[in-house]
Amino acid sequence: MSESENLHTTPLDALHRKLGAKMVPFAGYAMPVQYPAGILTEHLHTRDAASLFDVSHMGQAFLMGDDAIDAFETLVPGDYQVLAEGKTRYTVLLNNQGGIMDDLMATRIPGGLYLVVNAACKDQDFAHIEAGTKGRATLEILTDRALVALQGPKAGDVLARLAPATADMTFMTFREVDIRGIPCFATRSGYTGEDGFEISVPSDRAEELARALLAEPEVEAAGLGSRDSLRLEAGLCLYGHDITTETTPIEGDIKWVVNKRRRETGGFPGADIILGQLANGTERTRVGILPEGRAPAREGTEIQDLSGNTIGTVTSGGFGPSVGGPIAMGYVTTAFAGENTEINLIVRGKALAAKVVKMPFTQKSYKTA
């Protein structure tokens, strides 16, 4: 792949190249897809120890103001009134049809919210949030901060060594913390199914932070390739693939983003459609899929029932290094969404046996207490 013109770079660009990363264009940025160790090794190391991912391409912003929480709630189905300061919650921006415009992390901070959104959606997300909260809250886009993810079972030990204040943080909590004297925001969260942190750092100190983390014996650099295989094994959605403007959170089997109070009071875009689906079910549902053989079924693979009728499509599929075989997720007609339902995947014209399974494909190990 050629070094494309006009790509943005992250503050860690020089470090990636020094580490021998293979850089690819992603969402308008030059990003490391893998380092010399390769995707398999990086994936397994993350499950075994800890890996550092550059996710600086993602969008970060503050939504501030006395009315920021109520204003934000008009755009998402989450309950942010009930959320305590310093707590993080996953949510989705909805369109008027209940379709998902993006998924994001929103943390309550003094005076408002700290938001982290997907790179490919960030410009339109921020425009949408700004328009939707106009006159009620102020959006401050953080263009001078990088974001790294430290993920894996050793992430807690590593970060506690560099920043003891992080030791007692639990899953989905946020803290402003100095890491080796660098002022950071740490959220105990991630996209791998492992314990870990996403750390926001001033751009001009991002390389210093990354080098400090990589200097710890447990930590290796990992790229977007393993980030994708890790999140797939964890059953986590990739926006634009597993959830889109054409899918609702109910179809996407993330109905838990519609929090209890919001189910009663509504007041979010597409509420009628979404609350109707909660009550009456949906025609299709996102499920986990385990192919029986060795062949991976990629995104776009047709799913059939055993009689050869089309019942759905794979939305993410590949090889799960920790599973040791192919895994996938996709949408099927809800009648076929039950666990252990036998289905066929049409790969290169051949019907390959598979079954519907519960996700995650690997056990999650979040620090919940």
Binding site: I39, S226, R294, A295, P296, P326, R348
Partner: protein
């Protein structure tokens, strides 16, 4: 024995009218760790440039095209069982299939080792 190369990074080693086909180290570097390989069954007839085998890395699936026309006489079952064999020895045990060529003149358009090295050097 002559070894020739294609633009798609296959090698073909010719011994009489039977040729052995595999993929080059350069191709493997681009693909990354292989997790799945599918080779053609003996008896299958393929045309030059036709998709004859599949290699998949964690990220993506790629096709292996037949550099020549002919009938497959053997697919390498060993690499189907253990795709890592290909990465370990792409020019040896990691071969994909043997083919009985129907038109040896199809080899003429392929690159020799020196030509292929220059071709690869011109990429990126």
């Amino acid at each position: 024995m002559t070894v020739k190369y294609t633009n798609d990074h296959e090698w073909i080693s010719v011994d009489g009218d039977v040729a052995t086909v595999g993929v080059t180290t350069y191709a493997l570097e681009q693909l990354g760790d292989l997790v799945f390989v599918e080779v053609p069954d003996a008896g299958r007839t393929v045309a030059k440039g036709e998709e004859a085998a599949v290699v998949e890395s964690v990220k993506a699936a790629s096709e292996v095209y037949s550099p020549v026309s002919g009938e497959v006489v053997e697919g390498n079952a060993g690499i189907g069982d253990d795709p890592a064999t290909v990465s370990g020895d792409p020019a040896g045990d990691g071969w994909f299939f043997k083919i009985k060529m129907s038109d040896a003149s199809e080899l003429d358009g392929l690159m020799d080792e020196e030509g292929y090295a220059a071709f690869v050097a011109g990429l990126d």
